[in-house]
Symmetry: C2
Subunit: 700 residues, 2 copies
């Protein structure tokens, strides 16, 4: 039995707040359950009625002399906690709370919502909502919602955080002929959320694709784990809104500034194989295609068309979506050449000309489908003088039956002349779009999913031997000092403890000590003031480079001290750091910013002082495998540099991947690290060095 079957396939349902008056939600819900042809038992609960819609009504759910799986609740918010108590006593397995006026309406509503959560915990039942439309299952069938329509049967499972989008799409889908397995309105997600939805739909054989409209993810870690497993077998497509509000967020690190929290969503979705739709139409374009067609074995597309213009547009869109046009086998070309009119284009796109009737479409489609280079096909039809849309559609439908693993998508341009043909295609499992661009996008979705699922998602995460105690000690000292930002030498010590090499550095408290340290480290050295108040050290003469003798070091100590005193007489000076001078390497940034939803997000890219200008950064949510660390590096422009452009020697890629993984491990081991930047990391032919490390801890 699949998760949440008590919800989607209940044996008995009570409607608490069932009403006798049309137009009331309590009436609409009961009527929908009844008229959806639900085969289970139905119990209206209403203290003032004896009978509603032909069903005996009860004053309380406790009065029903039968076990109840599911309670659908429409009574006012203030009454719901008491109803929940009764539901608990009645041992219901689930409540669908349609009523609004909870968390979304302010403090008082949030208290009511908490009260319900307590009952759910106490009595061990699950809650959908509150503040939702309810749900629909077209196979059970049951419509436990107050929508005005019942969807067509199909294989799309759709859960939405917005009731309005759900009802808008339902209305649209009936007219368009798009079918659904389940509609789930998530509402306030007080208990059941997107992760539960995915868990419930993965084993539902009626659902071929899971669509989600989300404004946020409740539990990133859980979603990550569940979706990762599911997406390797069943496509998940998400429209995540609220991108604009997430754009700006306070960040003290480069990595944080480059990320923004929407970036975390994109990164997480990509990493776990969730397709992200860019708009509502794309969400349902993918939904239709995934629910009707299978995933292609190879990713190249063949285009068949009866006109040049639309196929040029489709070709452009293939390029934009990264969908390659198939190169035909010699045999295919020969067959097309022999059998098509001379003016036809026999290469891909195959233009079978404006006078093509269904037989020519049939021949061309059969021919390209039998070519082993072809993974999927887009059939374009424009209404011309002799065109026969209906007959052509019928041919496509028949041929498609023989090629279940080569998806076919159609684009019939036009209005009335192609309407019936388009609907017939859709009814028989061939997605048909009015514009060729949408057809290409849909096929691209299938191909993207195929490539996503190829990634091995359960690779092992490396674990390095590290010195956690040392890091603990440093962090404790920083907190004891009432700081959250580490000083340079502290941050360097943290990364060193995690096996990330830095130039040798020590903090001197006097000129004599500086000379001793310089001797130990080896000349030349660079000296920098160490103070939590001074951020731009260079600007105030707080840095002196390339010191080659004890005299120079000693002088530098006094010069820096006096420069700092002149500019920042009030600054707290911890000393002056003496650091090994190292040769210039290729400059990278490796960083971490902790996302509220997804946890540590690791970045790598071109580093240096222009990092925010160049914006060449690739992200991953931690933890991840060595293979993924390499992959994220190889997505950057920096990678081309590292491989050695224009005859230069390549950098030590392995050691960079190591640093990425060590930063990831550090972020996992110490949840109190809010942000971390290594910028620049100097990459050399052999090894690499973290030149500057910034670490910020969370406020205590």
């Amino acid at each position: 039995m699949a998760a949440l079957d008590f919800l989607f396939k209940p044996i008995s349902v009570a409607v608490i707040g069932a009403s006798r008056h049309a137009g009331k939600v309590g009436y609409d819900v009961l009527k929908n359950i009844v008229s959806s042809n639900f085969q289970g038992k139905i119990y209206p609960i209403n203290p003032l009625a004896d009978e509603i819609l032909g069903y005996r009504a009860y004053k309380s759910i406790l009065d029903v002399n039968d076990s109840i799986d599911l309670a659908v609740v429409t009574v006012p918010a203030e009454l719901v906690p008491q109803v929940a108590e009764e539901c608990g006593q009645k041992k219901v397995k689930g409540m669908v709370i349609i009523t609004a006026g909870f968390k979304e309406s302010g403090h008082k509503g949030a208290e009511l919502e908490n009260a319900i959560a307590e009952k759910a915990k106490k009595y061990n039942f699950r809650v959908l909502g509150p503040n939702c439309l309810g749900f629909i299952d077209t196979f059970t069938p049951i419509n436990a919602s107050f929508t005005s329509k019942f969807p067509l049967k199909g294989n799309i499972g759709f859960a939405s955080q917005s009731g309005a989008i759900l009802s808008g799409i339902l209305d649209w889908s009936v007219e368009e002929g798009v079918g659904f397995s389940k509609f789930i309105s998530l509402g306030n997600k007080s208990d059941l959320d997107e992760s539960d939805t995915i868990e419930a739909l993965v084993n539902d054989s009626n659902t071929k694709v899971i669509l989600l409209y989300l404004e946020g993810v409740e539990d990133g870690l859980r979603f990550f784990e569940i979706a990762k497993k599911v997406s390797s077998t069943k496509p998940i497509v998400v429209l995540k809104s609220g991108v604009s509000s997430a754009g700006a967020r306070a960040a003290s690190s480069h990595t944080g500034a480059l990320a923004g929290s929407d970036k975390a969503y994109s990164t997480a979705f990509k990493q776990i194989g969730v397709l992200r739709a860019r708009n509502i139409e794309e969400l349902f374009g993918y939904g239709i295609t995934f629910s009707l067609q299978n995933i292609p074995k190879t990713n190249s597309v063949a285009i068949i068309t009866n006109a040049g213009g639309p196929s040029i547009i489709a070709t452009d869109m293939c390029e934009e979506e990264g969908l390659p046009l198939a190169g035909f086998e010699a045999e295919t070309i020969e067959k097309l050449r022999t059998n098509l009119p001379k003016a036809a284009s026999i290469y891909n796109p195959v233009d079978i000309l404006g006078d093509a009737l269904e037989d020519r479409y049939k021949f061309a489609l059969n021919t390209v489908l039998s070519d082993s280079n072809v993974g999927c096909v887009l059939v374009i039809l424009t209404p011309q003088a002799m065109t026969k849309p209906k007959e052509t559609a019928q041919s496509i439908i028949e041929i498609s039956k023989g090629y279940k693993n080569k998806p076919i998508v159609a684009s019939f341009m036009g209005g009335e002349s192609v309407r019936e043909a388009s609907k017939n295609l859709l009814r028989h499992g061939i997605p048909c779009f009015g514009f060729p661009e949408r057809g290409v996008k849909s096929l691209a979705g299938l191909v993207k999913f195929a490539s996503l699922t190829k990634a091995e998602l359960d690779e092992e995460v490396s674990k390095f031997d590290v010195d956690k105690d040392k890091v603990n000690e440093i962090f404790t000292n920083v907190y004891n000092d009432s700081r959250v930002v580490l000083l340079g030498h502290e941050a360097a010590a943290v990364t060193m403890a995690y096996g990330i090499m830095t130039p040798k550095v020590e903090l001197a408290k006097s000129a004599e000590e500086a000379v001793k340290i310089a001797k130990k480290i080896g000349y030349p050295v660079v000296m920098k003031v160490s103070s939590p108040q001074i951020l731009h050290k260079t600007d105030i003469g707080g840095v002196i480079m390339n010191l080659e003798t004890p005299e120079e070091v000693s002088n530098a100590y006094y010069t820096i001290s006096s420069n700092v005193f002149r500019h920042f007489p009030q600054a707290q000076i911890y000393g002056i750091s003496v650091q090994q001078m190292v040769p210039q390497g290729r400059e990278l940034i490796i960083g971490m910013t902790r996302d509220l939803t997804w946890g540590p997000m690791i970045a790598v890219g071109l580093g240096g002082i222009y990092v925010n200008l160049l914006e060449d950064v690739s992200f991953r949510i931690s933890p991840f495998s060595r293979k993924q660390a390499f992959e994220m590096l190889s997505e950057t422009k920096a990678y081309k540099l590292l491989k050695g452009m224009r005859g230069e020697k390549p950098s030590d890629i392995d050691s960079i991947v190591d640093v990425i993984l060590r930063v990831s491990q550090l972020s996992q081991d110490f949840k109190i690290i809010d942000e971390l930047d290594i910028n620049p990391l100097f990459a050399y032919d052999e090894g690499c060095l973290a030149l500057d490390v910034k670490i910020t801890l969370e406020k205590k």
Copy 2:
């Protein structure tokens, strides 16, 4: 009288090849002219018929005893030249040649097409086609095409290089309720092309927006000049396909490699104020909106919605499209607060809640429209239990009449429940889209156009005093040497002649000469081998830097010579250049690549050896004003660097703009320059220097 009135408003039309048999093109065209309710005279020409569709038929156009404005031709291709001769004798003003089998079908067809062009020239008539559908004017009215439908009357003028797209859109538009002023099928564009179309439509008061589907532009210079003028008064929106095929092109310069020929189209369109649509739906989304609504005075949008989800999605799309949300005046907020339910959101987007009826929409819409911060409005409706789409639509229509300069666009989500309301909105001039993203895109189109037209298009182009003779002399020498690629010192001399400073450099033919030159230039110097065969000089020891004494210069001469001889014994050595060493500046690239359609395209951006990695380049088609040169520079990331980031001194922006303009002038003066790269250009606090200049001439 507007251009091409003889085409769109003929007094008399002959259909040459008119047929008595339904299904034949010659019949369909005649029937379409007749049934479009054309008020002029109609003359079927058919040697075998006496009468067709009730009109007396003639054996030849020469037999008609009346003057003929327009001949629509459907006879086979081989007969068309003779028909053209007769049309010429008959003094027709225009021919519409529907027949196919010309240039598009190969050599023989091209000859026929040329023969027609000769007749047109001889007799001074214009030709639409061949290989086209014909045209339709809904106001004349006349349907001189073989389409199966007649479009609704409206204010979109649409010309298409693809007949199939035209017929597909026509079919679609009738069902959607979208109206057109003219449909023009351009076919092979043997004479009339997109530029003529624009010229014809600019003064056509029935056309509010010009839409073009193009696979190429015939005459870039002419299109540029005409569209520039038109676009300041009437919107032009173009869907240009064939992007993918244009992607790869052979280029020997960085600039050329960065450009690609599709980039030239985008650059030209942007520069002349033409909006580029990214797909068919966007083209007609813009078309509908421009044809129905006016351009807003300010660019901020107010959103009114009855549900949260769709308005969050719309807000995301506003961000993506660069459309700012209006901040309301205090008075507006107060009014909304006082009159809307407590749970409503009174800030932008204004959420008037799921139970909003038409009166609440009416109030909210009136209130935000009267706010002077609001430039345009998106009204979102999702079908909920109490929603009244029809009544709400009616309210919007009424209110819109009072705000002609504040465009209103609606998004009514759903199917049947909103269909009638949506159609009614469209009928009354309010574009209505099924998904909110499309509504936002449409408003963004209006705003983009408003910002395009703000650019002053007729600014003066600077002309510098330059030494053209010197450049002519250098180019002559290069050609005489059977080369097209200039040597370093030659290229430097060319730019110097155009007032672009380079480090001092001269070519030495002996060690002694090198020492003399070094003395003249001043130490230190850098020496480089000069040979057309050696491209990567550094790799073979062909460059020695930082030479400070005569001995070092002399030794360097011998070292370079022997290095070169060892690696390239066969290379042709012109000498060794001695060049002034200059301090490091900020590295830019300024370049030119000559586009086949648009002419010289100038580039500026981040330079150096990683220019193709960073891809930070902005383009303009030459010539352009100083203001535009500055604008193109300010579009780059390089500009942020030049202004001085992180406390650094700014670079001399004026001198960089100067170099851009001088390169532009050089490209105008010498059409034989195919490609030019200055990379790097060192920018300093004062002035800048072209460190390395590459110039390639066209092959003779």
